[in-house]
């Protein structure tokens, strides 16, 4: 087709059958799609003993998922700080914001954004997942299916702790400084337990991994409760981590916890980031 400006464009006509050369283009497209899909696949790597017992499904009565640095820091300080937890697996994935998949078989380095699984030594039915890496929207479903696919659904109960910036909290009232950080909860309909804080009000919504997990639990009728902490601090902060303390009440029935001694550990997480920021004095 000749255009007004004198250039010649090749235009495809649907009335005419396509030539063989175009099939190569299509194959190329397919190849590219496949390569992208493979690259973006979510891999869950379990340690050998867990991988063996996965011939059936993993016995799990309580799954605690922490999404975000403050939630993960809270679990590290109050729960994982005792010596009775074993690292049993990790999820590795690649997306534009989390480029970790070059080391699929090797566990992530400490301090790197990652998705790690821990199991309690004395009570192996309790699993903890700390997710500090970004999981893209197209990977959320895969992550949820693969993780829950390894767990036995009967008797499973899920708790999710998630961070969110308070700027995304929609309310008609003005939020005074002293109210922040605060918790809001959301439950699946199968959950009969009492939530320890007010429910998340409309029109606020959850997004990302917490939403994917809660949706999965709702669809499969797994009792699940989520605690969303709204905070005005971007980096890990000890006050924000302490806001998750009410969740300890549920956990303490299952495993031994450190109730108060970890304030220094909390501060260690916070201090690392505070010293690096010279923006505010």
């Amino acid at each position: 087709m000749a255009t007004f400006f004198g250039e010649v464009l090749s235009v495809y006509s649907r009335a005419v059958e396509e030539d063989d050369e175009d099939l190569d283009d299509e194959n190329e497209d397919e190849q590219i799609h496949r390569a992208i899909e493979e690259k973006r696949e979510v891999h869950i790597a379990w340690c050998p003993e867990v991988a063996q017992s996965l011939e059936g499904k993993l016995q799990c009565s309580e799954l605690i998922i922490a999404v975000g640095t403050n939630a993960a820091g809270f679990l590290s300080a109050y729960v994982l700080n005792t010596e009775s937890w074993d690292a049993v697996g990790h999820a590795s994935l690649w997306n534009e914001r989390s480029r970790g998949s070059s080391r699929q078989s090797i566990a992530p380095l400490p301090g790197e954004p990652a998705c790690l699984f821990y199991r309690h030594r004395d009570n192996p039915a309790v699993l903890v997942c700390q997710s500090t890496c970004y999981i893209a929207e197209d990977q959320l479903f895969q992550w949820t299916e693969k993780v829950f696919g390894c767990l036995q659904k009967r008797g499973l109960s899920v708790m999710v702790l998630s961070d969110s910036p308070v700027a995304e909290y929609k309310t008609p009232d003005y939020l005074y400084g002293s109210a922040v950080p605060f918790l809001r909860s959301l439950k699946s309909s199968a959950s009969k337990s009492q939530a320890l804080c007010p429910a998340l009000e409309q029109p606020n919504i959850l997004t990302g991994l917490p939403a994917a997990v809660l949706s999965h639990c709702q669809v499969h009728q797994i009792p699940a409760v989520l605690y969303q902490c709204y905070t005005d601090v971007i980096s890990p902060d000890s006050i924000t981590m302490e806001t998750y303390k009410p969740a300890l009440l549920c956990l303490s029935k299952l495993v031994k916890l450190e109730p108060c001694l970890s304030a220094d550990v909390l501060r260690k997480f916070a201090i690392i980031t505070e010293a690096q920021s010279n923006l505010y004095t």
Binding site: K170, P172, Y176, G177, S178, D232, V233, R267, I271, E274, A275, Q276, N278, L279, Y280, T281
Partner: protein, 241 residues
């Protein structure tokens, strides 16, 4: 709700808010706490020391700056904005001395700083300054003053006040414990330290204090002196309980 009216500083929302100014107040809350107390014969500014990186020279991380021989201030919020304001105020203090042959009063320099801040809330293409400041000093007639400014460009005189993170908690403490016309310098200093200890983690070693007595220049208290006051405060507390 607020979304379409909060991007430009020069636009009011239908209910009369300048959202950029409100948001600038949030930036102030990101800074560490500063407290100011005005006594009869001494003015005190205390700040929570910022945690400094290992390789950083900590004497370059200062929250308390002197503006002239008779005025000094502490700020909370964006460090770079504070530097600009402090520099302009220092120049204005000298300009005042040269023009009028007298040191600027505390109120004069506070008004100058506030006018700069207000100007930045009314021109487009600029954002408000993200700092609040506590300005203390003595006028040449010997009257002590404490003023507080905020990003909107307002200023008010206070007997005692706090800015920055946890300012509300500290202010409530000051309201309960401030006594009019504190004669004793020690009591004024102790009040500032006690107020800071309410919110500062790990006690005296994270506090920096500056005082100015009438007809004297500003003095930054040494760490040992602060520790002495902290010990005295703790002893008094134990005696009460």
């Amino acid at each position: 709700m607020a979304m379409s009216y909060d991007r430009a500083i020069t636009v009011f929302s239908p209910d009369g808010h300048l959202f950029q100014v409100d948001y600038a107040q949030e930036a102030v809350k990101k800074g560490s706490t500063a407290v100011g107390v005005r006594g009869k014969n001494v003015v005190v500014l205390g700040v929570e020391k910022k945690i400094v990186a290992k390789l950083q020279e900590d004497r370059t991380v200062r929250k308390i700056c002197s503006l002239d021989d008779n005025v000094f201030m502490a700020f909370a919020g964006l460090t770079a904005d504070a530097r600009i304001i402090v520099n302009r105020a220092r120049v204005e203090c000298q300009s005042h001395r040269l023009t009028v042959e007298d040191p600027a009063t505390v109120e004069y320099i506070t008004r100058y700083i506030s006018s700069i801040k207000q100007r930045y809330t009314q021109s487009n293409g600029r954002r408000p300054f993200g700092i609040s400041s506590l300005i203390v000093g003595f006028d040449f007639d010997g009257t002590p003053h404490l003023y507080q400014t905020d990003p909107s460009g307002t200023y008010h005189a206070w007997k005692a006040n706090a800015i920055g993170r946890s300012a509300k908690t500290v202010r409530e403490f000051l309201e309960k414990n401030y006594k009019e016309d504190m004669e004793s310098d020690t009591d004024t200093i102790k009040l500032a330290i006690r107020a800071l200890l309410e919110v500062v983690q790990s006690g005296g070693k994270n506090i920096e204090l500056a005082i100015m007595k009438r007809d004297e220049s500003m003095k930054m208290l040494a760490q040992e002196e602060i520790e002495e006051y902290v010990t005295a405060i703790e002893t008094e507390k134990q005696k009460k309980t």
